[in-house]
């Protein structure tokens, strides 16, 4: 059963009096429990597609359904709520709050969702242990390595137990070995039933995906199993 559906999605950005066609009629379905890698050359529209699918950026035309809801028919507040409670995000640059500890960064989305303090503390600890950072709870991001920060960002993305995780170049800022650790973590999450859509240049990530969506010039030009 599809939990993400895109139909006839186009996206145009105004640029110096002209417009850039980032997406040119994309149709895509992602089933629950899939790990989908979106690959393609720079500027082919991968990140634009991710943003449109995740309810961040409305398409110029076309429709998107996320978790059975027409995302862009929802108001901004409802869309924020959907992203907060049912969707997780991981970005190339981790963008953790530097003044908060690792545990507090993980707690933040839960605090926004109204999870009681004791409950979110317990869960933040569990999640950081899950990503292998149980010994770094009280450390602030500037005192963590890039790989550790990305793992904190993953724990933060998992805070409200999302059904779908979107990741945009999650290994882009990491060395190869650390990147592989993140891929392993994604694999574990997917095995546990989380749906993942990962935009990547990293062949290692794509190799672990259940399905690879290949894009070029704003279009899906191929789909298939990894490898």
């Amino acid at each position: 059963m599809s939990i993400i559906t895109a139909r006839g999605v186009t996206k145009e950005y105004p640029y110096e009096g002209d417009s850039v066609h980032a997406l040119r009629g994309v149709d895509l379905d992602v089933a629950a429990g899939e790990l989908v890698a979106v690959v393609g050359p720079s500027g082919c529209g991968k990140s634009s597609l991710l943003n449109v699918l995740a309810g961040i950026d409305p398409p110029t035309t076309g429709t998107v359904s996320l978790l059975g809801r027409p995302v862009y028919a929802l108001g901004e507040r409802a869309r924020s709520d959907l992203r907060l409670r049912e969707v997780g995000f991981i970005f190339q640059r981790f963008h953790l709050l530097a003044v908060l500890t690792a545990a507090e960064n993980v707690e933040l989305p839960m605090a926004e969702a109204g999870v009681p303090k004791a409950e979110r503390r317990r869960r933040a600890r569990e999640l950081l242990e899950y990503v292998g950072l149980g010994h770094r709870l009280g450390h602030r991001p500037p005192h963590l390595s890039g790989g550790e920060q990305q793992r904190v960002a993953i724990a933060r993305a998992l805070a409200n137990a999302p059904r779908v995780l979107f990741a945009d170049e999650p290994t882009g800022e990491l060395d190869r070995r650390t990147g592989e650790e993140i891929i392993t973590l994604f694999r574990r999450l997917n095995d546990a039933g989380t749906t993942l859509v990962v935009v990547t240049h990293d062949p290692g990530v794509a190799a672990h995906a259940g399905r690879v969506v290949e894009m070029a010039d704003g279009r899906v030009v191929g789909q298939g199993g990894a490898g």
């Binding site: 990140s47 950026d57 963008h95």
Partner: protein
């Protein structure tokens, strides 16, 4: 948690925050001083006028108290007519003159002398001794110190001066009956008071009065009484304290204009400082803010946190600015009161809790508003574009 995190960012950038706070504190201090100045002088003047219950003044027609050397003729009759007006408790006559301490053939510096009725006077408070009887004077502290006078001493005074010879004329010895604290004297002013009939005789101004200080009976409205006196004694001008304050306000318009201009400048500086510091902070955390929006933190929450930064800056700046402003006000007051002819008991900077609270609340509000602009800009930026720009 987001608000706390954003506020902690201010603490993390200690140097920058400290500089901004110093600027806001100076602006808040300036605004505080201007607020105190705007109402201080008039308020203080009003308090002084009514210091011993004599809240009305009767002066020669169209003239403010001691604004000219004009006097009220037929003073005793005018006094009787004033005291006959219902609601008048007492009318204290005052006759201003200049006397010279005589030292042999030469004279000392002139002494401001007032003729009073010891039974009803509103010019000084006795510190020691008693009210003057015939041939007696009450000296101000400054005069007593300057001339080394004590109660019981005798002092030779002349009401006239032979300018060509530089000699005193009509010198007479007076006994010092008391030392007084003169309400309206400027710092170091040499003054003395004696019975009005003696000033009249010495200056050859029989039956003249410079002005009357009038006390209303308890529960009588000053303005209404002033109108009744004006009707009963139309050949003089009667002023209630409120009317004199209005006149004072008019004369000191330039002070209030200065206060308004400098106060406005302080507000603009505060707004610029807060806006700049918040803008820089927001710009540095552009990616963080975009990420928080992407993960579902509501725009309003983020905007609130950014506004809280401006608010915290302005609030902390105000707390620092308050003692600074009070210290500066004290220093400025001392400088301004050293100007000639300004009563030493007056204050240019009056502490009025409500006005001060309003001024500081204004700074805090400006701080919040100044944080609003960069906040709206940062949280209103198209999210996908913000994420794209951050990734590049």
């Amino acid at each position: 948690m987001i608000v706390r995190a954003f506020l902690q960012t201010l603490v993390r950038r200690r140097g920058r925050t400290a500089l901004a706070l110093a600027g806001i504190a100076v602006s808040a201090a300036l605004l505080l001083d201007m607020t105190m100045l705007a109402s201080g002088l008039t308020g203080s003047f009003g308090e002084m006028l009514g210091v011993v219950g004599y809240r009305l003044r009767v002066t020669p027609k169209g003239i403010l108290p001691f604004d000219s050397e004009a006097g009220i003729q037929r003073g005793d009759e005018i006094r009787r007519r004033i005291e006959a007006v219902p609601g008048v408790r007492a009318a204290a006559p005052i006759l201003g003159a200049q006397f010279y301490p005589a030292r042999g053939d030469s004279v000392g510096e002139p002494v401001f002398t007032v003729g009073i009725d010891p039974r009803a006077q509103a010019l000084y408070r006795l510190l020691e001794g008693e009210e003057p009887g015939p041939g007696e004077v009450v000296a101000s502290q400054a005069l007593a110190e300057a001339e080394g006078l004590r109660v019981g001493d005798r002092v030779a005074l002349a009401a006239d001066l032979d300018v060509s010879l530089g000699r005193a004329r009509g010198t007479r010895a007076y006994r010092v009956s008391g030392i007084g604290d003169f309400w309206y004297d400027y710092a170091g002013q040499r003054s003395l008071a004696m019975r009005i009939e003696e000033v009249r005789a010495a200056t050859r101004r029989p039956d003249e009065v410079s002005l009357f200080a009038v006390a209303a009976a308890e529960g009588v409205d000053d303005d209404a009484l002033a109108r009744r006196i004006s009707a009963a004694v139309p050949e003089v001008s009667t002023w209630s304290t409120r009317e004199l304050m209005v006149e004072m306000d008019r004369r000191l318009l330039y002070f209030r204009q200065l206060a308004t201009i400098l106060g406005s400048v302080a507000m603009v500086v505060t707004a610029l400082l807060v806006s700049t510091i918040v803008t820089i902070g927001v710009r540095e955390r552009f990616g963080e803010i975009a990420t928080l929006r992407a993960i579902g933190v509501r725009r309003g929450r983020l905007l609130g946190a950014i506004v809280a930064e401006g608010l915290a800056l302005a609030l902390a700046g105000c707390l620092l600015g308050l003692p600074l402003g009070l210290w500066v006000a004290g220093r400025l007051d001392a400088i301004l009161l050293s100007f000639p002819s300004i009563p030493a008991k007056m204050t240019f900077f009056a502490w009025e809790a409500e006005r001060v609270a309003l001024a500081l609340a204004l700074v805090v509000a400006v701080g919040a508003l100044a944080g609003l602009l960069p906040g709206v800009r940062a949280t209103g930026f198209p999210l996908a574009r913000a994420l794209r720009e951050e990734a590049e």
